[in-house]
């Protein structure tokens, strides 16, 4: 067991080492760089992983379990990257029911949660301990100075003693300080559908029993039963529960989970609010209200910090752990962005990634492990559906994938936020958006600010459930011009600016005809799946795949080589791109041999010089010989009588001349050949040197 733990921890370290370079991947704001995006649906995670290994897909959406990580690390076709997620798993404690209504009892519970053992034995390195309901991955919102509770049965016992829960009759069961009798059973609901929480809950129950606290079995239950027994009975017949939440980039969940107004035991028709632990604390309510209402970052941060401090002191819940997920992708792709809280399968990855060795192009084949219910942006709520829709639709702005608190201009290039008071004297904020002027809908209709105004009004008018929380504070919308919109909200909350960003901008020219029929509307069948995003919809077969292509009219589309070319020209351009890649490879090889070429060139130069010398000397010799011949000609007349005696001399000289001419001819041929070779080599050298430059 210990060997296994060590192995798994080493595995995690190795996976982090292999993953680390991804964390530093620069985010490129132009895109997309791939040509197509193909979502392939795999309801079976095993099949999806096999598809990655065989190359059927090149990006996966789900976290690899430990045994798959080991396999992925040894597969040359697969790369991995790890990231912390925004899940929050905790022990919920009923603050309304005895004995968990006693703060000392709750603190004792906190001292009995062994987070380090949870990390190694349950999460096996694929998770991290949480001390606060605001995890560290949320950056500056997490308060590092809150009270923490080390695992210590002794300190837990001390807390119980402080609360008066002592074993006065020494029968092994602690006594109730109110009645003096043995304590009544603590009702502990443990979720069985989640193996991690089940194990953590069982350990806690064992520790409690060991300290003499009686537990009514450990009521291991299904999620739906827990919903009824715990969430539907806030402050009711339960004491402890293994809970969990998915949280967002803002810490306002602190107020949602623990503000007293979220505790409604009287029930309003079935929904009893998020504060089922029944935590009622006026100081916390003050800071929670400020968290929701403060308009400045500093005030909001202070409120978040105070909320966390109070929660740590009063312990309505014990944060246990969050997950670290290791995700996989194909080694033939690069440019992926490891988004904090999401992982490698982020929006930015699809936006930036491209094949290795190419600047752009290729088809991203993205495996997703769940069916897509619908492509109607107003009814879609499933995570995997939004993996598709957020590539087609845009929100007003975006944020840094490496820093969740940093907002980035996007469709709205810039904005101002000012205080505002409504006609009914309610304090609020006014947000003025300034939009880009060259954005086009996928059907080539220009985008204007009126589209966003229409979107907000539409969602309010038809009470679209999914977006009610986003538009609930909007009181007025003023169109200043085609690219400027003022949004008036009757809340001063710093997060209100984020609320109004949680909407997909809808094209007015399409959705105004849909009207009240939004719930039945099928944008795929009606041809209305039109967005502003970097990807355009092509085809969808339910349960099988969704096909998107790069939107080349996207206002942030990169200056790619073949922008504006026809398909035939794109093919040629791609071929040229391949040739460039090959020449690039050739030039690398050529660089390796540059010295040799240079040396050879030098040798040729020497040879050329010596050949020229030879030619010059030959020419000189020819000149001299010509002179000699001339003299001899002059002498022929006067030496006519001596011709006969000199004829043998002349004949000998002629022979010499002819031999010399043959030699000169060879030399000159050689010289010309040398010159020719030298010129050729020189040309190659010049060409290569130019290419090197």
């Amino acid at each position: 067991m210990k060997t296994k733990k060590v192995f798994l921890v080493l595995l995690l370290i190795i996976s982090f080492l292999t993953c680390t370079p991804i964390m530093a991947q620069e985010v490129v704001k132009t895109g997309p760089w791939a040509d197509e995006l193909f979502f392939k649906i795999y309801l079976n995670p095993e099949a999806e992983y096999l598809a990655l290994k065989t190359g059927d897909i090149n990006l996966m959406d789900w976290e690899l379990p430990a045994e798959k990580v080991a396999d992925a690390l040894t597969d040359p076709n697969v790369m991995t990257a790890s990231a912390e997620d925004l899940g929050y798993y905790l022990i919920d404690i009923n603050c309304q029911r005895w004995p968990t209504s006693d703060v000392h009892f709750r603190r004792a519970l906190a001292h009995l949660v062994d987070k380090s053992r949870i990390e190694t034995d349950i999460l096996q390195g694929f998770g991290y301990a949480l001390e606060s309901p605001v995890p560290v991955v949320m950056g500056g919102w997490s308060n590092p100075g809150i009270r923490t509770y080390a695992f210590s049965p002794e300190m837990a016992a001390a807390e119980l003693d402080l609360g008066g829960f002592t074993d006065t009759d020494a029968n092994g069961i602690r006594n109730d300080p109110v009645t003096g009798e043995d304590m009544a059973d603590v009702l502990f609901f443990i979720r069985i559908d989640d193996p991690e929480r089940k194990q953590a809950g069982e350990w806690l129950a064992q520790e409690l029993k060991a300290l003499g606290v009686p537990i009514e079995g450990e009521l291991a239950v299904e999620r739906s039963v827990c919903a009824n027994a715990v969430m539907d009975t806030p402050g009711g017949e339960w004491n402890v529960y293994t809970g969990g939440w998915g949280i967002g980039r803002d810490p306002d969940h602190l107020a949602d989970f623990y503000h007293s107004k979220e505790f409604d035991p009287e029930c309003i028709g079935g929904w009893r609010g998020y504060n089922y632990p029944g935590f009622v604390n006026s100081t916390f309510d003050y800071w929670a209200d400020l968290l929701k209402e403060a308009s400045s970052f500093e005030d909001t941060k202070e409120a978040a910090f105070m909320c966390q401090e109070i929660i740590a002191e009063q312990v309505p819940g014990i944060p246990m752990y969050g997950h670290i997920g290791v995700k996989a992708y194909s080694s033939t792709w690069t440019g992926l962005v490891n988004h904090v809280g999401t992982g490698i399968n982020s929006w930015w990855s699809c936006y930036n990634m491209h094949p290795v060795g190419q600047d752009y192009g290729g088809r991203i084949e993205y495996g997703i492990k769940s069916d897509i219910e619908t492509l109607n942006p107003l009814t879609a709520s499933w995570t995997y559906t939004w993996e598709v829709l957020d590539k087609i639709y845009e929100s007003p702005y975006t944020y840094d994938p490496y820093d969740l608190s940093a907002d980035w201009g996007w469709l709205a290039e810039s904005w101002e936020i000012e205080d505002w008071t409504s006609p009914t004297d309610v304090a609020g904020i006014k947000v003025t958006f300034h939009f880009v002027e060259d954005a086009l809908w996928h059907d080539d209709v220009p985008f204007t600010a009126e589209d966003l105004k229409f979107t907000y009004e539409y969602m309010q008018e038809y009470s679209v459930p999914r977006y009610l929380s986003s538009v609930q504070f909007i009181e007025d919308l003023v169109l200043v011009d085609d690219y400027t919109l003022e949004v008036y909200q009757n809340t001063t909350s710093y997060f209100a600016f984020h609320y109004i960003n949680s909407v997909p901008v809808l094209p007015k020219h399409i959705w105004e005809d849909v009207g009240a029929g939004w719930q039945d509307y099928d944008p795929v069948a009606e041809g209305g799946l039109i967005g502003l995003g970097p990807w355009k919809f092509v085809d969808y077969v339910p349960g099988e795949y969704v096909h998107l292509v790069a939107n080349e009219d996207y206002w942030k589309f990169p200056d790619r080589f073949y922008q504006g070319l026809s398909m035939a020209e794109i093919g040629q351009a791609k071929a040229l791109s391949m040739l460039r890649a090959q020449l690039s490879a050739a030039s690398i090889a050529a660089e390796v041999q540059a010295e040799t070429i240079s040396e050879l060139s030098s040798q040729f130069n020497d040879f050329q010089a010596s050949t020229l010398e030879l030619i010059e000397s030959s020419v000189e010799n020819i000149g001299n010989l010509a002179d000699n011949i001339g003299i001899l000609d002059t002498n022929i007349g006067t030496l006519d009588t001596e011709i006969g005696s000199l004829s043998s001399d002349i004949s000998g000289l002629e022979t010499q001349t002819s031999n010399l001419q043959a030699g000169l001819s060879s030399a000159s041929n050689l010289g010309y050949a040398s010159i020719g070779i030298a010129i050729l080599v020189g040309a190659v050298a010049i060409f290569m040197s130019r290419r090197e430059t």
Binding site: F38, K40, I41, Y42, L43, N44, E46, A47, E48, L50, A51, K53, T54, D56, R223, S224, V225, A227, N228, A229, M231, D232, G246, H253, D256, K261, D264, I268, G269, G270, W271, G273, Y274, D371, E373, T374, N376, T379, A380, S381, W382, S463, P465, R466, L468, S469, Q472, Q519, D520, D522, D539, V541, P542, G543, E544, Y545, H547
Partner: protein, 322 residues
Amino acid sequence: MSLKRYIIKRILYSFVLLFFALTLNFIIFRMAPGNPIQVVASGMRLEPEMVERLIELWGLREPLHIQYIRYLKSTITWDFGYSYNSLEPVSREIRERLPNTLLLMGVSLFFAIIVGTVFGIYAAYKRGSLFDLTSVTISLFSYALPSFWMGLLLIYIGGYVFGLFPLAGTISRPPPLDPTLKVFDMAWHLFLPSLTLFLFSYGGWLLLMRSTLLETLHEDYITTARAKGVAERGVLFKHAFRNAMLPLVTNIALQIPGLLNGAILTETVFSWRGLGLYTWSAIQFTDYPVLQALFYIFALVTIVCNLVIDIVYGYIDPRIQY
């Protein structure tokens, strides 16, 4: 009573039965734990006023008898409302998945019945032989193996190791454009999941056929037929099989509603988009409208199949009195 009166009576009984099934369907889901508002609101963190609006929108605070009348009316008109989970029309979601389920279950059931019956007949005929022992053992073995395990194994070997079959889906992604190739493509994708279900279920048909035929082969009229000199083939098929067929026909009729259940595990393993997984998701998310619709359809098909089989029995079994 004449056959006509018998049929009319059975039809009337079926309507009464259907009414009770509908009512029970309504009651069960109102008594089940869980709250649909939790499903929607928990992910959205709505203000109380917004939650109120949702409750009113879905009529969750109306008196039960009003909800019941509305439910009966909409069910009879096949308007099943909207899924609480996806907010999509339930009838459309069912319609999209039904053909895949019928294809997968129908093909595997068809081959399981044919192969199981044929092997069962021969096993009964050759009782005690090596074939009998082998076929019974193999059918029990394959029945005992978990279907999801078999499916995963087939995917691993057939899809990954040998690369002969696809790893997921009902069609290639993207599918071929030619209609003929599309049919072959679908058949190629259907092979492994239907083989999984076939291996899991053919054993039951084999054992059923074998046991009923063995019983029949020991009847006196079979001995008489042999004594009269009827050929063995005639004894087997004209006399024995025709009588042994009755439980088989009954079982087939009972299996037909099961076609709609889908096979949750097989559909998940092979990423086969059918009703099985849809049902499971609805249970997980306490999706009342979906569950009510599926249970209603299942009850309706079961009642109709029972009615049909009752009528068919009247024709094929001369012992039936009406």
